[in-house]
């Protein structure tokens, strides 16, 4: 699918970049005329994905994270978050609600939330090489929502 617009951002895995990633995503999505709820959903999903790269992919070092945003045909927002960290040994297990390797500071709900707040979630991971998380969501937008009874 040929994107109608796209951007690629690269930043180190510092936790202060979680808010930055949310802001960039919200700014990119703004051109797609999202509702407040849709904006909340995509900000939550990107926050989860970027946090995972920061917390889990590089548990004891700072590494690169890339965030790619694409606007696809039909007002679909695609968010891709990529790290070159430790990878996920068992993706099906990681996707289970409440599964976490992060201890008491994590809830294990991140991937579950990404899956339910977006239309699709795909994860590719190679242990020792890194993880790529790709999510898509069709934004119905304010225009059409306003016409609904």
């Amino acid at each position: 699918m040929k994107p109608e617009n796209e951007t690629l951002i690269r930043f180190p895995s510092l936790s202060s970049n979680e808010a930055f990633a949310r802001s960039v995503t919200a700014a990119f999505a703004a051109q797609m005329d999202p509702t407040l709820d849709e904006l909340g959903d995509v900000k939550t999903a990107v926050s989860e994905a970027v946090t995972n790269a920061i917390v889990h992919a590089y548990p004891d070092r700072i590494g690169p994270v890339t965030l790619k945003l694409r606007r696809l045909e039909g007002n679909v927002l695609e968010i891709t978050v990529k790290d070159a960290g430790c990878g996920i040994p068992d993706i099906a297990q990681a996707r289970q609600p409440m599964f976490t390797t992060g201890g008491a500071e994590r809830s294990g709900m991140g991937l579950t939330i990404m899956e339910s707040f977006m239309n699709s979630l795909s994860i590719r991971s190679l242990p020792g090489r890194g993880t790529t998380v790709r999510m898509r969501k069709k934004l119905i937008g304010r225009g059409e929502a306003a016409c609904r009874p």
Partner: protein, 107 residues
């Protein structure tokens, strides 16, 4: 993190604000624990009225606070929860363990 909080008859109210993500979580968690350890409340209300964003890091904070209140055999309630944090809380099923409402708690 500096919370506004007030205590009345062992009822502790804590006003959370801003963005609750992993970056902010550790500070929020330790500040909450400190308040509960000092006041030993029998009832704790987390007021989400001024929270502008929350992701699943907030769920871990709520669970942590719930454990602390369970140890005191006290109650926990989440109030004034705006739509975005509410959706995250409901996705986690936490409402089965804690009272969660959009409104202020009954006096």
């Amino acid at each position: 993190m500096n919370f506004t909080s007030f205590l009345q008859d062992k009822r502790l109210t804590i006003l959370l604000s801003g963005e609750i993500d992993h970056h902010a979580a550790r500070e929020i968690m330790s500040a909450l624990t400190a308040k509960i350890d000092v006041y030993l409340p029998s009832y704790c209300e987390l007021d989400f009225g001024a929270v502008t964003f929350m992701d699943s890091s907030g769920i871990a904070i709520v669970i942590h606070t719930l454990r602390a209140m369970n140890e005191l055999e006290g109650k926990l309630r989440l109030t004034h929860v705006p739509p975005q944090p509410m959706k995250v809380l409901l996705a986690s099923g936490i409402q089965k363990l804690v009272a969660v409402s959009q409104e202020r708690s009954p006096a």
